[in-house]
């Protein structure tokens, strides 16, 4: 019985690892899509990321050992090598996540600015007077 449980945990852990790696790659793609202003690619990537991250949270929950666990009968340990790979992949994902978060912050500010511009571009343009190249002043509320 214990052997089966161990295999299940190891199998789940292996899936967890694959998902971590896949999510990191997907995040990388999303950042590239943003840089290229490629909207559809970005949206597709997010859909993938939603699936991956949801499954990861479920697996993390299944694999975690609650504090109330009987110390005399701890759950079957996950293979050391696998665990180590999980730590490494997890760290890499977290690091990229921070950069991704910063990029989202900057890009969404830019987008908000452009949306405000387009929402208010009509009807509030004034032309400067004078003989030189005309500068048009517009104002908007963000």
């Amino acid at each position: 019985m214990t052997t089966v449980v161990t295999q299940d945990r190891n199998r789940n852990a292996a899936e967890y690892l694959r998902l971590l790696v896949a999510l990191r790659e997907e995040m990388d793609k999303a950042m590239g899509a943003i840089a290229n202003n490629a909207l559809t690619q970005f949206e597709d990537s997010i859909a993938c990321q939603q699936l991956l991250s949801t499954r990861l949270v479920v697996l993390a929950d299944e694999l975690s050992v609650p504090l109330s666990t009987d110390r005399a009968a701890p759950p079957a340990p996950i293979d050391d090598h696998l665990m180590h790979q999980i730590f490494t992949a997890g760290d890499s994902l977290q690091k990229l996540n921070r950069t991704y978060a910063a990029l989202l912050h900057h890009s969404s500010r830019s987008t908000a600015l452009m949306v405000s511009f387009f929402a208010s571009a009509r009807g509030q343009i004034q032309e400067a007077s004078g003989p030189r190249l005309k500068y048009q002043t517009w104002s908007c509320q963000m």
Binding site: G32, A35, N36, H81, H84, Q85, F87, T88, D91, K95
Partner: protein
């Protein structure tokens, strides 16, 4: 949307990025560590400071355990020999008390017990690694001959003990002063032996009997002191096991914090090299084309 004529900076940026990944993968494989600088993982780096110091502490405690164990074991085996000597003295004294001895016999017995006394004093003066085992914290020879002293010897050491740290909150007494074991006022080994010599020399059976029973009492007393060393040994051995476990735990933590799995690193390196080659190949295809190809005539 029309094609962006500013593709070149994007491609160069991609190329730079794949180069960075390649360099990271190379560094991981060559050092075996995925945290080489604090910015790689600041929390891990901070935890590693603690880990380094704790690992150093565990190493030092382990060294100390071994060092004190060795001292304790030396002392213990010396006390064994003292017990043997005292046992011999008791049997000589018993013989001397049976009233059937001639004066000559008694003199012989006295000489033998005197010999045992000298042996015990030598044992009390044992030094290991340049330090006396039974002198307290003094560096003077514990027992030297002194004709003015009733035992014939004077104690030059002190009554202080040294404690050695073998754990964060665990210190073990590393020595028992000679004054406690050999010349204890309530049960003096040296005193009882020299009294026995005197009694044998006097030839008075009842004095010899009293003196012998004092030696016997001293023998039991030494036996009790041995128990102190025995307990210390047990404590040290179990602390050694705890420290070994700590070493494993700390080394695992270190691996989790900064270690890189060799197989993963090698795979990462291959992947990074492939990515880099692909990026280079893509760049080679795009750059020579004239940018004008990307411009469409205005509609």
């Amino acid at each position: 949307m029309r094609i962006d004529p500013n593709l070149v900076p994007t491609i160069l940026a991609d190329l730079q990025q794949s180069q960075v990944s390649l360099n990271t993968a190379l560094q991981e494989v060559s050092t075996g560590k995925s945290v080489n600088v604090p910015s790689d993982n600041p929390s891990a780096a901070a935890d590693m400071v603690q880990n380094t110091i704790e690992t150093g502490d565990v190493d030092k405690y382990t060294q100390n355990v071994n060092s004190v164990l060795s001292t304790v074991q030396s002392a213990s085996s010396i006390l064994n020999s003292v017990v043997t000597s005292l046992t011999q003295a008791v049997s000589l004294g018993t013989e001397g008390a049976n009233g059937t001895n001639s004066t000559g016999n008694l003199q012989t017995l006295a000489t033998q017990v005197q010999g045992i006394l000298s042996t015990v004093v030598s044992a009390a003066n044992t030094s290991v690694g340049g330090a006396y085992l039974f002198g307290g914290t003094s560096t003077a020879t514990p027992y030297t001959a002194d004709s003015t002293s009733p035992t014939g010897y004077t104690y030059n050491g002190n009554n202080d003990t040294n404690s050695v740290a073998v754990g964060d909150n665990l210190s073990v007494q590393a020595n028992v002063p000679g004054s406690q074991i050999f010349s204890n006022t309530s049960n003096s080994v040296l005193g009882s032996l020299s009294s026995l010599v005197t009694a044998l020399q006097s030839g008075n059976s009842s004095e010899v009997e009293t003196a012998t029973s004092a030696v016997d009492s001293a023998l039991n007393f030494v036996g009790q002191q041995q128990a102190v060393y025995g307990n210390a040994e047990t404590q040290l051995n179990s602390q050694e096991t705890v420290l070994q476990q700590d070493t494993v735990t700390l080394s695992t933590q270190e691996n989790n914090l900064i270690g890189v799995n060799e197989a993963t690193a090698a795979t990462d390196l291959t992947q990074a090299e492939t990515d880099n080659s692909a990026a280079l190949a893509a760049t080679a295809k795009v750059l020579p084309n004239s940018l004008l190809n990307y411009l469409e005539p205005p509609s």
